[in-house]
């Protein structure tokens, strides 16, 4: 009898497993190529990440159908968002987001909100670092901030990507913290911005780590502080003496600024839960590859993963935060 019970239990287990397996085999899968919309130009951070994911998916055969990256950068990304918004119920269109998910509709009044899309998953968060030229006298964020406070307003110049977007929002936060206006000069891409600082045309930038890493390693730029609640945990040396983990937080340096940029995936409105699950699983698999781990390390990303309600709540909170920040800075569309 014991043997029989054991056998029955085993049979039951395998039957359940079999149902589970067939269930999985019948789960939704893309039936044609999936369009991966990038609401930014070629060569930028979002574009690099999207193309990198495309490469991982193709190389590791994570999906039967190909993933095709399409850039829709018009109107600070509004073009891409409106396209996905308009593709109601189409499961073959996904979009990668950056902060322009919030800033573009708020600054331009383009009729679009993240609630018009179906939240998929958060892939990672991108950090912001305050950089100065290596020849500048400032060794710490405090020295730099004290100098801004000591000099008249509009003495210091900050280069950043785009207008009324994340870089300018952070600049406005620094204005608020120091009580002095900093001149903000917008450029088209993060690479250009870093080079403006290397060339000494501006005093500082708030480049993402990946945009300025090479110049730091080459001894041209110096990181002062990172705009997060805690330090990064990448301890491999970038320069001879320093690693990402050695950069203090801006808060500890007396500038209470925290800002992280979402790198997440959204789907078209009106898709089924099954379709959302497929993509959430796909990106979980992408995150497990060694290539992804290397990419995260190179760009010093914060590797937070979220999906479902947790993700939607986070996006809702972040939107409210952007509204507040942009309202304070006077960036809202009239």
């Amino acid at each position: 009898m014991i043997e029989f019970k054991n056998w029955a239990a085993r049979a039951l287990v395998s039957a359940v497993a079999a149902i589970g397996l067939t269930g999985a085999a019948h789960a939704w899968e893309p039936t044609k190529p999936v369009e991966f919309v990038v609401p930014a130009g070629t060569g930028g951070g979002a574009d690099q990440m999207a193309r990198f994911i495309q490469g991982i998916v193709a190389k590791n055969k994570l999906m039967e159908q190909p993933l095709v990256v399409v850039n829709k950068s018009g109107g600070a990304g509004a073009e891409g968002f409106l396209e996905v918004k308009g593709a109601k119920g189409n499961p073959h269109k996904i979009i990668i987001t950056l902060s322009n998910l919030f800033t573009t509709p708020l600054a331009t009044g383009v009729p679009f909100n993240w609630r018009d899309l179906t939240p998929g998953a958060m892939l990672a968060l991108d950090q912001f670092v305050l950089w100065v030229n290596a020849d500048a006298p400032y060794k710490t964020a405090k020295e730099y901030i004290d100098d801004i406070k000591a000099k008249p307003a509009s003495t210091f110049k900050m280069a950043g990507t785009g207008s009324k977007q994340e870089d300018q929002i952070i600049t406005a936060m620094i204005d608020k913290a120091t009580g002095k206006k900093i001149i903000y000069v917008p450029f088209k891409g993060g690479g250009d911005v870093a080079v403006q600082l290397v060339g000494g045309h501006v005093n500082s930038t708030v480049n993402n780590p990946i945009e300025a890493e090479a110049h730091w390693r080459g001894g041209k730029l110096r990181p002062l502080c990172i705009m997060d609640t805690e330090k990064l945990n990448y301890t491999d040396k970038v320069t001879d003496t320093q690693s990402w983990a050695d950069i203090p937080t801006c808060k500890s340096a007396g500038v209470p600024i925290e800002y992280l940029m979402l790198r997440g995936i959204f789907l078209a409105p009106g898709v089924t839960q099954e379709q959302v699950d497929f993509y959430v699983n796909l990106f979980k698999k992408v995150r497990e590859t060694p290539e992804w781990a290397d990419f995260m390390k190179k760009g010093a990303f914060k590797q937070t993963f979220m999906s479902g309600k947790e993700f939607a709540d986070w996006v809702g909170k972040t939107e409210a935060m952007h509204y507040g920040l942009m309202k304070d800075a006077g960036f809202l569309a009239k």
Binding site: G41, T42, G43, D47, Q48, R51, F52, Q54, G55, A58, K59, V69, V70, K72, S73, G74, G75, A76, A78, E79, L82, A107, T108, V110, S154, K157, G162, S163, K164, Q165, Q168, I183, Y184, V185, P186, F187, K188, G189, G191, D192, A194, V195, Q196, V198, G199, G200, H201, V202, I210, E213, A214, H215, R217, G218, K220, D294, K298, F331, A333
Partner: protein
């Protein structure tokens, strides 16, 4: 002579049989991409990039950069044969290349274009090989004010070129600036002239305007002349290459000047398109017989092609040494470098010598391979003109439509292309010059941002344009260029009085 040793090592990396195979494959794909208007090198490389992830890094970058060379070569083909620039930097090539083809000299025009492309690229590669660190430091000097000065110089070297009345030139240029202003304004982050129309958010793409104005406009004109059009009597001479080469030697001055303009614009990063316009403008100014330009002067093909290739090639230099892409294609290649785990920047040369010198060696080889491929195909390309218009006309329209669609994957752009086509036809009928419109459309946006960035930096003071010898020199040179056409007139006036 470390560079020579490194380069020899690079050749040993690039010369392996599979790598040579990838080169031929890349160049051939690139030519096809260049021929299709709108597809463009940047798009082509972006599409093919993921395919290379499973390849060896060096082979992958060799193939991708060869696609880049191929696209640079291929862009000239449709400009000369059909007046449709396959790439933005081929617009200036149409000015004299198309009239040459109309006169039955398509073979000579193609040979001139390909050979000049090779010369431009070759000198730019020499520059990369021996002067990379030095040139990289020069590029860093370019802030917003210096960029504006360069754009100003491009405009000024081109102004006064048109034989049409200045009022007409100004009118179309203003129209070009207005079109360039549509869409997102980078400096204030607000939308301009979109009137709530979603399709206008992305503004008017230069390529769509060019495909419509030149390609479709030309077809409408030909149709008006009558569909009995039998095709050009393009004689196919196999020795056309050698004959043209003998002729080209006479234009060595133009070549050198265009190489300099191209290298400089590629490094700064002004880009290949302004370089081609500037070189064309300078060639016309330097020529004795100014009126023959625009009517099929071979020098008008040599200048823009040399400069475009020199710029396109040297645009890779700031990408490798600083991590700033000098062109959209370079931007996509930059993404590729990052994916392969290579961080472009000052240290790439010391950290990954195999990769960098393999790439540089492949630039030499890729260009030679490209030149051989395109030159052997010259008679075939020229033979396309013998196909009757009633057959080739519809095919061109289809290719134009595909090209316009590919730029942003949008049907609206195809409609816009047709609208631009009608305008192109009307402008030609009413004798409005198209070149200033195109120049304003391609440079207007950039010049505006640079100017306003400078104004932000200087807090509204124009002194920033004279703040250092570099920017001051560029501005002074611009004004000299601007006023140059008046000099002969003034001389004439003075002589009259005395």
């Amino acid at each position: 002579m470390d560079e020579l040793n490194n380069l020899m090592h690079g050749f040993s990396v690039a010369m392996t049989l599979p790598n040579l195979g990838f080169m031929v494959l890349g160049v051939t794909l690139g030519i096809l991409i260049g021929v299709l208007p709108g597809l463009g090198g940047a798009n082509g490389i972006a599409i093919l990039l993921p395919l290379t992830f499973s390849m060896d890094q060096t082979s992958a970058i060799i193939m991708l950069s060869c696609i880049y060379w191929g696209a640079l070569f291929g862009g000239a083909i449709t400009s000369i044969l059909f007046n449709i620039p396959g790439e933005p930097w081929s617009v200036a090539t149409t000015f004299d290349g198309y009239p040459m083809a109309q006169q039955g000299r398509a073979g000579a025009a193609l040979t001139a274009a390909f050979t000049s492309s090779f010369v431009g690229a070759f000198f730019a590669v020499l520059l990369i090989t021996f002067l990379a660190p030095l040139v990289a430091r020069f590029a860093l000097k370019f802030g917003a004010a210096e960029m504006f000065a360069v754009q100003m110089l491009t405009f000024c070297s081109f102004v006064g070129m048109s034989k049409e009345p200045p009022a007409k030139t100004l009118a179309v240029m203003a129209l070009g600036f207005a079109l360039a202003a549509v869409g997102m304004d980078t400096v204030t982050g607000t939308l301009r002239m979109t009137y709530g129309v979603t399709e206008l958010l992305k503004g008017f793409d230069f390529l769509i305007a060019v495909i419509g104005l030149f390609g479709i406009g030309e077809i409408l004109l030909t149709m008006e002349e009558g569909l009995a059009f039998k095709g050009k009597s393009a004689k196919i001479q196999l020795d056309v290459v050698l004959k043209t080469w003998a002729e080209l030697l006479r234009y060595w001055k133009t070549s050198i000047r265009s190489v300099l303009v191209g290298c400089w614009m590629g490094v700064t990063p002004g880009g290949a398109t302004p370089a081609s316009f500037m070189a064309y403008g300078l060639a016309r100014r330097g020529a004795k017989d100014k009126d023959s330009f625009g009517k099929g002067n071979i020098e008008g093909v040599v200048a823009p092609e040399t400069a475009a290739h020199a710029a396109g090639t040297s645009a890779l230099l700031p990408m490798l040494t600083l991590g700033i892409p000098g062109s959209p294609t370079a931007a996509v290649l930059l993404g590729g470098l990052l994916i392969w785990g290579l961080q472009p920047g000052p240290l790439l040369f010391t950290e990954k010598p195999d990769f960098v010198w393999g790439l540089i060696a492949s630039m030499y080889l890729g260009n030679i391979v490209g030149l051989i491929i395109v030159l052997t195909t010259v008679p075939w390309w020229a033979a396309i003109l013998r196909i009757p218009f009633s057959v080739i006309g519809p095919i061109i329209i289809v290719i134009c439509a595909i090209g316009a669609y590919t730029v942003h994957s949008s049907i609206f752009d195809v409609v816009m292309m047709l609208v631009f086509g009608v305008f192109g036809y009307l402008f030609k009928k009413l004798r409005y010059p198209l070149a200033p419109l195109v120049l304003a459309l391609v440079l207007g946006d950039m010049a505006e941002s640079s100017f306003r960035q400078s104004m932000l930096l200087s807090q509204g003071s124009l002194d920033i344009f004279w703040a250092n010898p570099l920017v001051g020199g560029l501005m002074a040179l611009s004004f000299v260029m601007l006023l140059w056409p008046i000099v002969p007139v003034l001389k004439h006036q003075l002589r009259r009085r005395t």
